[in-house]
Structures are given as structure tokens and as C-alpha cells.
């Protein structure tokens, strides 16, 4: 009987009984309850739906963004927030999508967004135009009606319904093709994870967390059918989410760290045809996929008569590290099909469901990202206790750091001392993200993350056997604390003390600042606020612009909890990050976004949409500036920064304005707008008081690795050559403890204001004016007479000279100083002193020199000078002929040509290549070299700093660009 009913319902649906109810434009329509086969009962259950009013509490969590006007749909188990129609988020063109989803009472929202779409293109997302809250007669639901964004003739309607006792929300979507054309339709829930966050798990052969990679042109190959999808949020507090179809036994979709999509299989959608999709969206508390998989199996039992059994057991590790300093995960499988993944409780116990069809259960336990135990259990389709799973022993290390003799916040890097240990302990998180050696904790969560540990006083961690080095620095201007070749044995304890001294590297009269920093409020970060602020403190930075993607966040609570109010100045800002693709160039046929832009200060609005930032989609930069100003950005005293101006895309969204606009640096910018990318630079969008060029500063260094420095610098130099002067900045773009190190690189701003009596307007004025250097270690003091770098030009005297002093901590190698005049390196100074002991405190001053301008400048005309210091830059060439270097001598044959392009296997036979890259970087140092030591606390980076330009108005009529 239980099998017959779903079959009968499916047949009824096929012959039209489950017809769409809300596709004829009638706003009074009511869709039926989705998933009628699902039944939950409990005592004291309730449901509610209401529009969030001013001052009403909204569910909390790292990703919570509910704002006044959004709709709350809750019961005794879960709370879901549907964003208001005029509060669209991320990729969705309107509200009416799932913004927050948490377990009742847990404040564990870790969901970025779930929206409905029928494909990948922007016009295939649901554009809702009406929203109705239904809370009467025992029915609690939200119903939204609209059309596809680019197809006014394709109506779409979605009903979110919540019932008492249920661990999720029932959803029904109806859609009809009112166009005359057949379309390829994939009616789907798009789960926007955003990266570094939720990891999708699907039960299928070879699956689990393992999913085929794909690009936008190969996405069809990444589809597969699965009974359900569950995504674990391993950084805590967080929830696990999942979806189970109520219509069909399997769902089809693709999974990535950015987006998961689940729905009925893609199909030809003829004109006039329609489709109904019903599913159950679930949420459970905690990091374990098994919580969600348990509910999914429960639902499938109701829907498809698939019984489940419960497996219990316990994981033990010598020393009792489970759930404390050592994180284990258990995968239960049927053959090569993993069905669930469990993070055991703090005491090591676990319980999880698997299908009752399993006879022999596969058990696999991971610790430090590596499989440490495998076994099987004959369960014969019955509940079973698999007993105690005993893991190999691990060592224990207590780490402490002192700075100038006192314990303080510090970030410690744990690095294998030898290749054997590195090979033995290198591993990934469920095969996702880059490997860590060792993997002490989730790479993008709190501490420990990857191989990095935040300490403030003695902190104990577990470590697998091996030899390890421990390094820490209090930012780039301190000495390097190190303890090397510490042997860790299983079941033994060690102590590590790292002593760091402040050094007189940062000049007096400066404040250091990082103007590009992310935390959990950003869609691609999951580091808890408290750990984020600890990282602020560990970096010894003075000023931070907190610049979450698309929203504003306030770290005040975390700062107060750490008593750090007097130690650093936090400025609330936001990084506008385009999500909705659109056409803004006539000379490029594919839709794009305008890259990333940062604004500060923007007041934090705890109850407003985007927490005070502007809605930023589908506008040119000039209009974006206008919208941010209208949202609260103080353009009079604030700063507007062009971020990482060249780069690729993430899930088809452009990182970078110059790349998206297609600027050709071999040609001058067009001053008359003609719709082409080259004319967009100066264009003023209609309705805006700002042109696209009205930004204040540009990132010249972004990220600890400096990987695209040559390209960012190329744009900056290109603009300087044309007399378009913007201050250059250097920021970490840090999202977690793992990738970019917060404060590396950073800006050293010459300013009269101080941390004790901080004047934001004065500070920002100096930032806008380029009164700063960008650095990840070396400090360059450059001047001509009384003039220092900045965007103000001056007329030098005939006998003036360029004075240069370069300082750096002893562990920061400085191999050369480059003097760039009008974009060309005219002198390279290599006669620099080398500190005797990189772990010492002496040898800070590397060079002091003075060079007559006559030896540097062309005979006549305006000129600009930038000074750089650090490692010699790798040679790269411009193979696509757009004026930016793009490819290095990657095959080492001494010639840069198509052979060096990673994605080319044969000569394209053209002068300008369409496919280029990668850029070459300075060679990797040998273990123990000074550059290697630098890399221990600046992973994959190399020493680099630059000054802002010295603008020489030699003819006395104003600086007008380079004379070449």
C-alpha cells in the first residue's frame, strides 16, 4: 500500500490532477500544500509566519541577514527567512527566496541563499512580483508569484509552507512556458554556498563530498541523479541543510563549493508546457552531515517506503582528544556509495541512519584529513551498534607566544620540518579545498584552521607523529619567533614557546592599515567574528576597514569581548561584489559583472537589508558609487577603492573591473563614450553624480601571495602615464586564517592622526592622497627634497636627488630596490645589506642612498617615480597583446611563447593569443633559505613593497602624465 500511494499520486500528476494553480496571473490563487505524503507529529508543535518588524528578533547565526520587512516562517523546529521582494540578495534578481534558515533556538544560520531558477543565465532566475503571507486555518505559508527574470511570458509561483513539528519547510514551485519557443529548463533550487563554507554531500557511487568539477561550458557533464543532497557546515555555529524531492525518487543536479543545484532533470520545455516541483528543505543543527541525512532518510521512508536503520558507536583516541583538539569524521557506506558522514559528539559517541537495504556497512574514520581506520560491519538491514572504534594515538603540543615578554594574541604556523613529515601529514578536508600540512582544523573556520593556530596564552593542540617547525610573527615589523624540528610522538606532550620582539621598522608618524578584510558576514568566509578579531590583534595592525562582500558587519561585540577597543580602529565598510550578470559593453557579447569595489565608511545598520550597504547589482561603477552614497557611504570623507583590477572569474562572475571592461593598455582610454569597454573608464552613467573613474585608490597589492601584482601595477602605471593619478593600496583580502594572512600586505600610512585620538577624516585624506606605502615586509622611505610620495605633484629643483632608505625585519629578505620612472625600471639597486641572523633583531636598515634626478629622468617633461623593494620580480610577457603581462617562462626554455601557456597544446598560429597564462612568480626557495623562512609566515609570498608615486611637474603647469 505504501508503495502504491506514491505511484498513484505520480500517475494523477501525470494526467493533470496535480495541476498548477497560480500561473494565470491571479494574485488570489492558493497553491496546495506541498509534499502531502509527509507527516510529522509531536507534542506542543506550532507554526507561525510574520513580516519582520522594526526591533523584532530575527534568527541569528554567522550568515544571518534578516532585515525589517523580510518574512519569518517558523515552527517549533526551524526558522526560515524569506527576503522581502525589494531585498534581493546575491544572484537572485528579487526577494522571495530563502535568506536565512536556522534551527529554532540555535542561532546557527549558515545559509547564504536558496533561490529558484530554471538555468544558469540571469534571465532564468525567478523574479517575484507579489508576496503573500498565509497564516490562517492551521496553514502557515508564504506564497510568491512572478515570472522568470528575462521571460515575462513564463510565470512562476512558489509556496513555502511550514507545519508544526517538521524539521524543515515544504516548497512547491509551478512554472509554465508561455513563450512560443521550446527552452531547455532545469527547474532547480540553487543553493548559493559562496565558497569556504557548506560542503554538499550526495549518496552515489564514489560520491559523498566528491563531485565532478566543471566549468560553465561543461556543466551538463556534472549532473547526476541522487536520492538527496545534504550540505554540512563544518564551521560552527552552523546548520546542515538538505533537500529531498517529493515528486520523484531521485533528483538531478551538480555540486560545488560555490553552488549546489538540485531539482528535476533538465528537460526540453516545449511552449505551453508546465511543471510542478515539490520538495522538502531541511535544516539540522551542528556540523554533521548525518543530522541532515537522518532527516532525508526519514522523509524518503515517508515518501518512497524506504526504511532506514540506526547505527550507533563510539570513537576513541588515546589521550581523549576527540571533539576537543582533534576532529574526527566517520563515513558510513554501502559498497562504494557513502550514505552519511558523522562528526561524533564530544564524548566520541555517534548515531546515524543509513538505508535498511544495507547488509554490510562500510566504516571509515578520518582524523587530520586522513583515513585512519576502516572496517565493515554486517548489519543485515537492522539497527546496529558497531562498538568502539579506536584510533591511532596522537601527540600533544602546548604553544605559547610572548611579544616583548608578555603573552599576547599571535598566529602560529605549524610546518613540517622535513619532506617525509610533509608528505605524511598533507591532506585535504574531505578532498575539498587546497591541502594543508598538517590539517589541524577546517581551513576556513575558526582556530585551528589548516596549519595555523591562534594563541593567547598557552594553547594545546593535537598533532600527528612527525617533526614540526613552529613560527610566529607579530605582523611584518617584528622579529620572527621560531622553534624548529620539534619531534612529536604519539601519546606524548611537548611545549613550544615562541618569543617575539617588536622592532623599530614601522616609521614614526604612521599607522598601518588593511583595507580589504572579510569575516563570516561575507558570503565566502566562515571564520567566526571572535577568531577574526583575534587575527586582527595577532597581525598588530592599527586600522582595519572591515569590508564584507555586499554587506556591512560590525565586530563591536567581539572586540568588546576581547577588550581590544584601544588596540585597533575598525572602520565599517563593504566590498560590492557583482553577482547578477548583465551587458554593459557593446563590444562584448557575454554578460558580466563590474568586479569588486570597496567603500568605507558605511554605517552598520543591524536591522536593515545588507546591514547598511547598497543593493549593488546591474549598474556601472559610477552608479554603484551613487547608490552606496545614497545608502550611507560618506563620500566626502570616505574612500572608494578599486580592488584587484585584473583577474578572472568565480562561477562566471568577474573579479575585476579592468578585465570585465576589457581595457587595452596598449591604447589610450577613450574620453568620448561609444559603448565600448575602452570608453567605459570615464563614462558617467545616467542618473549618477559619479563617473566610473571617480574612485579614490586602487589596489596595487592584493593578497599575501602577490600573484597578480604585475597586472595590477600595469594598470596603475598605465593610468599614471596618462595623468590619471590614484593612490595605490596594499591589502590582504583575508577571508580566513588559512589563505591570505591578515595584514599581509598592508598599508603604512603617513598621517598626523593617531590610534589614541583617531580622526577618520584625516586618516582617509591621507589614504586618498597616497601618503602611504604598500608592503608585506620592507619599508621604503623615499623622498625628493621635502617631498614625499603622494598624488600631489611638485616641481623639483635642478639638482634634486631621490633619497631612499629601505628597512625590514631581519627575516624579510630584500634583494633589490627598483626605481621605476614613467613605467620603466631605470635603476635596480642590489647592494643591500643582509642581516646575519634572520631570527635576530639586528640588521634592519638595508640601504640608504641618494640618486640625482638627472640620472633617472628623461631630459624634459613631466615624470613620475615609484620605488619598489623586495625580491626580483619574475619575467612575464604579454601574449594576448592587451598591455598587461600574462604569461611567464613556465617551461624554462628562456623564451616566453605559446609553449608556456598551460592550456595550449599546439601553436595557435596567431600573434596575439586568446588563451594565456599562468604568470610566473619568483622561484620557490629551498627549505631553510631566507626566502623560505619568509614564506613560513607569508605562505607562497615573496617580499615586496612599493611607494606611491612622486609626481614631477617639471614644466610647472601641473602634472599631465608621463613624457615618453
Amino acid at each position: 500500500m505504501t508503495r502504491t500511494l506514491p505511484s498513484l499520486l505520480a500517475l494523477l500528476a501525470l494526467i493533470g490532477c496535480d495541476k498548477p494553480r497560480c500561473l494565470d496571473g491571479d494574485d488570489t490563487c492558493v497553491m496546495p500544500t506541498p509534499c502531502p505524503e509527509v507527516t510529522y507529529t509531536c507534542d506542543g508543535g506550532y507554526s507561525e509566519a510574520y513580516t519582520l518588524g522594526e526591533g523584532q528578533a530575527a534568527p541569528g547565526g554567522m550568515a544571518a541577514l534578516a532585515a525589517t520587512g523580510d518574512v519569518v516562517l517558523g515552527n517549533d523546529k526551524v526558522v526560515m527567512v524569506i527576503d522581502a521582494l525589494d531585498h534581493p540578495h546575491y544572484i537572485a534578481p528579487t526577494g522571495g527566496a530563502v535568506l536565512d534558515f536556522s534551527v529554532r533556538g540555535k542561532d546557527d544560520d549558515s545559509l547564504r541563499h536558496i533561490f529558484t531558477a530554471t538555468g544558469l543565465l540571469p534571465e532564468e532566475a525567478a523574479h517575484y512580483t507579489s508576496l503573500k503571507v498565509i497564516d490562517e486555518g492551521g496553514t502557515t505559508a508564504v506564497q510568491v508569484l512572478g515570472t522568470l527574470d528575462g521571460y515575462p511570458d513564463i510565470p512562476i509561483a512558489t509556496r513555502y509552507e511550514i507545519r508544526p513539528c517538521e524539521p524543515g519547510v515544504r516548497v512547491r514551485t509551478e512554472i509554465a512556458n508561455g513563450t512560443p519557443d521550446a527552452l531547455s529548463m532545469y527547474l532547480t533550487d540553487a543553493f548559493y554556498w559562496g565558497d569556504r563554507a557548506n560542503l554538499a554531500f550526495t549518496p552515489r557511487p564514489g560520491g559523498g563530498f566528491n563531485h565532478p568539477s566543471f566549468g560553465l561550458t561543461t556543466i551538463s557533464e556534472a549532473f547526476y541523479d541522487v536520492p538527496f543532497m545534504v550540505a554540512g557546515m563544518h564551521s560552527q555555529p552552523g546548520a546542515t541543510y538538505g533537500v529531498v524531492s517529493c515528486d520523484e525518487e531521485t533528483e538531478s543536479g551538480f555540486q560545488s563549493v560555490y553552488v549546489s543545484a538540485m531539482g528535476p532533470s533538465p528537460r526540453v520545455f516545449p511552449s505551453r508546457d508546465w511543471q510542478v516541483y515539490e520538495r522538502f528543505l531541511l535544516a539540522t543543527d551542528g556540523p554533521s552531515v548525518s543530522g541532515g541525512a537522518d532527516v532525508a532518510l526519514e522523509l524518503r521512508d515517508m515518501l518512497w517506503d524506504e526504511p532506514f536503520v540506526t547505527i550507533t558507536g563510539k570513537v576513541e583516541a588515546p589521550g581523549g582528544h576527540i571533539g576537543d583538539t582533534m576532529r574526527a569524521a566517520i563515513t558510513l557506506s554501502d559498497g562504494d556509495t557513502p550514505w552519511t558522514n558523522i562528526v561524533p559528539n564530544a564524548d566520541g559517541t555517534f548515531s546515524a541512519r543509513v538505508p535498511a537495504s544495507i547488509q554490510t556497512l562500510g566504516i571509515e574514520v578520518e582524523a587530520f584529513g586522513q583515513v585512519v581506520l576502516t572496517s565493515t560491519a554486517d548489519i543485515a538491514g537492522k539497527d546496529a551498534d558497531v562498538g568502539t572504534l579506536t584510533l591511532p594515538g596522537v601527540g600533544e603540543v602546548s604553544i605559547n607566544v610572548t611579544i616583548d615578554g608578555a603573552e599576547d594574541h599571535a598566529l602560529v604556523f605549524v610546518i613540517p620540518s622535513d619532506d617525509a613529515t610533509e608528505e605524511a601529514v598533507s591532506s585535504t578536508t574531505f578532498g575539498v579545498w587546497d591541502p594543508c600540512a598538517p590539517l589541524l582544523g577546517l581551513p576556513h573556520g575558526g582556530s585551528p584552521g589548516c596549519n595555523r593556530v591562534l594563541v593567547d596564552g598557552s594553547t594545546t593542540i593535537a598533532l600527528p607523529d612527525g617533526n614540526y617547525d613552529f613560527y610566529s610573527a607579530a605582523g611584518p615589523f617584528s622579529s620572527l619567533g621560531a622553534m624548529t624540528n620539534v619531534h612529536i610522538d604519539a601519546d606524548t606532550s611537548q611545549s613550544v614557546l615562541l618569543e617575539i620582539s617588536s622592532l623599530p621598522v614601522q616609521p614614526a608618524g604612521t599607522l598601518s592599515g588593511d583595507f580589504h578584510v572579510h569575516g563570516a558576514a561575507s558570503f565566502d568566509s566562515e571564520i567566526p567574528d571572535l577568531d577574526r578579531v583575534k587575527a586582527f590583534l595577532a597581525s598588530r595592525i592599527d586600522v582595519i576597514a572591515t569590508t564584507e562582500h555586499d554587506v556591512v558587519n560590525d565586530y563591536a561585540d567581539a572586540v568588546a569581548e576581547l577588550g581590544a577597543e584601544d588596540r585597533l580602529e575598525l572602520i565599517t565598510g563593504s566590498e560590492s561584489t557583482g553577482h547578477v550578470l548583465f551587458h554593459f559593453r557593446d563590444d562584448y557579447s557575454f554578460p558580466e559583472v563590474i568586479g569588486h569595489w570597496i567603500f568605507w565608511p558605511i554605517p552598520f545598520d543591524p536591522t536593515g537589508p545588507y546591514r547598511g550597504a547598497a543593493y549593488d547589482e546591474k549598474v556601472e561603477p559610477g552608479m554603484l558609487f551613487q547608490k552606496e552614497k545614497e545608502a550611507g557611504w560618506d563620500s566626502d570623507i570616505g574612500v572608494n577603492q578599486l580592488n584587484h583590477p585584473f583577474g578572472g572569474t568565480q562561477f562566471g562572475r568577474d573579479y575585476s573591473w579592468a578585465s570585465a571592461a576589457g581595457f587595452d593598455l596598449t591604447q589610450p582610454l577613450k574620453t568620448e563614450y561609444d559603448g565600448t569597454g575602452q570608453s567605459l573608464y570615464f563614462h558617467t552613467p545616467e542618473g549618477s553624480a559619479f563617473s566610473n573613474a571617480d574612485y579614490d585608490v586602487q589596489e596595487v597589492m592584493n593578497g599575501s601571495k602577490n600573484e597578480n601584482y604585475l597586472q595590477y601595477r600595469a594598470l596603475w602605471f598605465y593610468l599614471l602615464d596618462q595623468g590619471i593619478v590614484r593612490g595605490g593600496t596594499a591589502n590582504s583580502d583575508s577571508h580566513s586564517l588559512t589563505e591570505n594572512v591578515l595584514g599581509t600586505p598592508r598599508n603604512v600610512v603617513f598621517t598626523d592622526t593617531t590610534l589614541a585620538d583617531f580622526d577618520l577624516a584625516a586618516f582617509d585624506t591621507d589614504v586618498r592622497s597616497g601618503h602611504s606605502i604598500g608592503t608585506n615586509g620592507p619599508i621604503i622611505l623615499a623622498s625628493i627634497g621635502t617631498h614625499s610620495p603622494g598624488i600631489e605633484s611638485f616641481t623639483p629643483a635642478g639638482d634634486d636627488a631621490l633619497s631612499i632608505e629601505v628597512d625590514a625585519a631581519p627575516w624579510v629578505p630584500v634583494d633589490e630596490v627598483r626605481i621605476v620612472v614613467n613605467g620603466v625600471v631605470v635603476q635596480t639597486l642590489t647592494d643591500l645589506s643582509v642581516p646575519a641572523d634572520p631570527f635576530g633583531t639586528d640588521g634592519i636598515i638595508r640601504i640608504t642612498t641618494s640618486i640625482p634626478l638627472a640620472d633617472l629622468l628623461p631630459a624634459t617633461g613631466d615624470a613620475w617615480i615609484v620605488v619598489e623593494a623586495g625580491t626580483a620580480l619574475a619575467t612575464n610577457a604579454d601574449l594576448d597583446c592587451n598591455g598587461t603581462p600574462d604569461t611567464g617562462d613556465n617551461n624554462g626554455d628562456g623564451v616566453i611563447d605559446w609553449h608556456d601557456v598551460a592550456d595550449l597544446t599546439e601553436d595557435p598560429g596567431v600573434d596575439c593569443l586568446a588563451t594565456v597564462g599562468p604568470l610566473a612568480e619568483p622561484p620557490e626557495p629551498e627549505r631553510g633559505d631566507p626566502d623560505w623562512i619568509f614564506r613560513t609566515v607569508t605562505p607562497n609570498g615573496y617580499p615586496l613593497s612599493f611607494t606611491n608615486p612622486l609626481l614631477l611637474d617639471r614644466d610647472g603647469n601641473g602634472f599631465s602624465g608621463a613624457s615618453k
Partner: protein
Amino acid sequence: MIPLVTACDQVETGIASGEVQVGLVDGDLGIAHSVCPTTRVGFTAGGAAIVETENLYGRILGTGILKGSLAISRKTEVYASIEGLRYDSLIAPISSSAIGPGYTDLGLSTQVFATDTYVLAVQGKLVLPTAFTIDKHSWPLAADVGFAASWDPSRHWAVHGSLMGMYGMATSGGPIYPRAGITLDLGGEWHATKGFSLVVDARGGFLYTDPLDVVSAGLGIRGAIGKHAGLALEVVKPLAGRERTLAAGELRFDWRFK
């Protein structure tokens, strides 16, 4: 009034006559049939393509159709086509395709006026929703009715035209999306010999999906093989209007019984 000898009686082979039979609407809605009743069976292999790189949209449609007609009198013919195979492939970032039976037509044509050079017929057909594996939930039903005429002023030349009204709708629990429009066709045939002809058509579609659905040009090469067999290769190229098809064409083999 039907004279003893009409223009239709002068066709003695299996060669096709009338306007280009390639349609752009499912079931060839709006396409007039030959005004000359014949009894034939035939097979048609057809295809159409849409290529819109800028919209990341493309479509390849392939069809295999069995056609037949039965002259039930000198002036009246019933005809049918069964699209036994329809392959529909949509190219998009997420592509999809379907294969299965397509649409079925049932039609009737009857002459209302005929001389030795002129023929005027009233025609109509019903397009039945038999694309079971492609139309998942709604069943499109359509019909056309109108006039088709031919004028054969000489042995070598003929002129034809038609005016057809069209109506289509979905039969399902969802929106029915009724559509109505007209198709106007004017064309000519040049009979080089009794066994070979060229046909050209100018066709306009209005109001069915847009005020101007399509303006298209059609071209066909038709031949006779022996006394009974006919072969035709015909293409239609949309030139203006809302229609997105780049081009459509078909290769048709007929066997004429009488």
C-alpha cells in the same frame, strides 16, 4: 463548378505541387496543402536549427514524418501526417534533448472552384497532441483553416497562394495559452519538364506569436522518378519577424497512386 478537365488533371507524375511544405510551427500549422487531390504516401526527413550565440541558445530539431493523402473524389482529399520521430535538442548552458513521437495532422482539402487554369480550395487541418515524450504536462491542440489557390497559365508556369487562419491552445490543467494568427503565402513554380520543377514562396505569418511572426522565403526542387515517385528538397529561411529559426528544410519522398 468543376469542369471536366482542371489544372490538376494535367499533372501525371509523382511530382509534388503547391507551396513549399516546410513549416516553422509545430505540425506545419498554417501551411496549405496542394489544391490537387491525390492519393499518395510518403516519407519526410526534416530539420530546423536556431543558432543564437549571443543568447547562449540553440536548437536542433530533426523529424521523420510519414505522410499520406487520399483523394476521395476529384475535388476532395483527406490527408494525414504522423511525425513518428522527433528529436529536439536544446543547446544552452544546461542543455537538454528529447526524442519520441511528434505531432499528428489530420486534414481535408476540397476544391470550391476550378477551371482548366484556376483552382481554389478550402482546406483545414487539426494538429493533434501526440508528442507524448516531449510535452510532459500539457497537450497542445491546434487547427488551421483557409483557402489555397493555384493558377497554371502555361505548361511551364504556375502560381499558387494561400491564406490560412490558425488557432492553437494547450489542453491541460495549466494555462492554455490560446494563440490565433494568419499565414499568407504567395509563390510560383517553374516546370522545366514534366519531371522537374522549382518552387519559390514568400510567406508571412502574423499575430500568432507576435504582430509579425515571420516573413520567410521558401525554395524547393522537385522531381519525378518514373510515373509514381516524387522527390522534393525544400528549405525555408526566415527573413524578418519574431521567429528565431535560422533555417528549416526537409527531404520528401512520395509515391503517388493516382
